[in-house]
């Protein structure tokens, strides 16, 4: 689509079957959809737990923070939260990028940068929780 103002004309010299075969999802749309829902459901209790944790840790000293994470349940729940949250975030931002970035090269670069940053933050968070807990 070089000239977006001109009226579109279809000029594809292939059979209808050939066209149809080129049009399938052919990627991993269903898996993306399911993963987004599963992480969303996981985040319902986990985000409420996070909100309660924030209230309990309000104004906490570092010693109190370490004491909180030293409870195995808290460390495990925080690690579950980090996994579900960053996975859900990656899926959501992927959709946003796919919707609004229309140039292939820019989209690929944006996607890799955003997903790379998400993996980095997820690992940094998880390692921090483990360091506080252990």
């Amino acid at each position: 689509m070089n000239d977006s103002n001109a009226d579109p004309i279809i000029d594809i010299r292939r059979s209808q079957l050939g066209r149809a075969r080129g049009l399938g999802a052919a990627k991993s749309g269903l898996h993306h959809w399911w993963a987004q829902r599963v992480t969303a459901i996981a985040l319902l209790p986990l985000s409420l737990y996070f909100v309660l944790s924030v209230l309990m840790l309000e104004g906490a000293s570092r010693t109190q923070m370490m004491g909180y994470m030293a409870e195995p349940w808290n460390a495990v729940l925080f690690l579950c939260l980090i996994a579900a949250l960053f996975y859900h975030l990656a899926l959501g931002l992927q959709t946003v990028i796919e919707d609004y970035v229309h140039t292939d090269a820019t989209r690929l670069v944006t996607m890799l940068a955003v997903k790379g940053l998400i993996v980095f933050c997820a690992l940094a968070s998880a390692v921090s929780v483990l360091k506080l807990a252990l």
Binding site: P8, D11, L23, L43, E58, G59, L89, S125
Partner: protein, 145 residues
């Protein structure tokens, strides 16, 4: 148009004329009147992206706590400053909205609540619940403080 991948990008309008389909974000602008359905939808996306930025703050908070007393006292002071509190307030509004509207989306995924009156009602419930949860959270938070 010569590439089969572009075949989905054209369609016929009500006059039967071949036209290019609009590409996102066509909902914002003259083509589409702002209404409760579109507003709750775009807010879901905006709050999602905002929460994504908020996770950077969450990461910083955890990393500073793991790093040491000096780093942790700095991040706690930043979060307790006026700017920090304004950012945290925005974060809680976004979180509670995305939480409530997310439940609305999940109920649609289960095939429930598609009728227009139901959809409008659930949209208003989401706004009310967001307000209520935010007020409750900050009431408790400021009381503890």
């Amino acid at each position: 148009m010569k590439d089969v991948r572009e075949a989905l990008m054209v369609g016929r309008n009500t006059q039967g004329k071949l036209v290019r389909r609009p590409i996102s974000p066509f909902m914002i602008g003259s083509a589409y009147k702002p209404q409760l359905s579109s507003m709750t939808s775009i807010f879901h996306r905006i709050t999602g992206v905002a929460l994504g930025l908020g996770t950077i703050l969450l990461t910083l908070w955890l990393v500073c706590a793991a790093a040491g007393d000096g780093a942790f006292s700095i991040i706690q002071a930043v979060l307790a400053s006026w700017i920090g509190l304004i950012i945290l307030f925005g974060f809680t509004v976004a979180l509670f909205y995305h939480f409530c509207n997310g439940i609305r989306h999940l109920s649609w995924d289960a095939g429930k609540g598609f009728e227009l009156p139901d959809m409008h009602k659930s949209g208003r419930v989401v706004f009310a619940a967001t307000l209520a949860l935010t007020v409750i959270f900050w009431a408790i938070g400021l009381y503890i403080w």
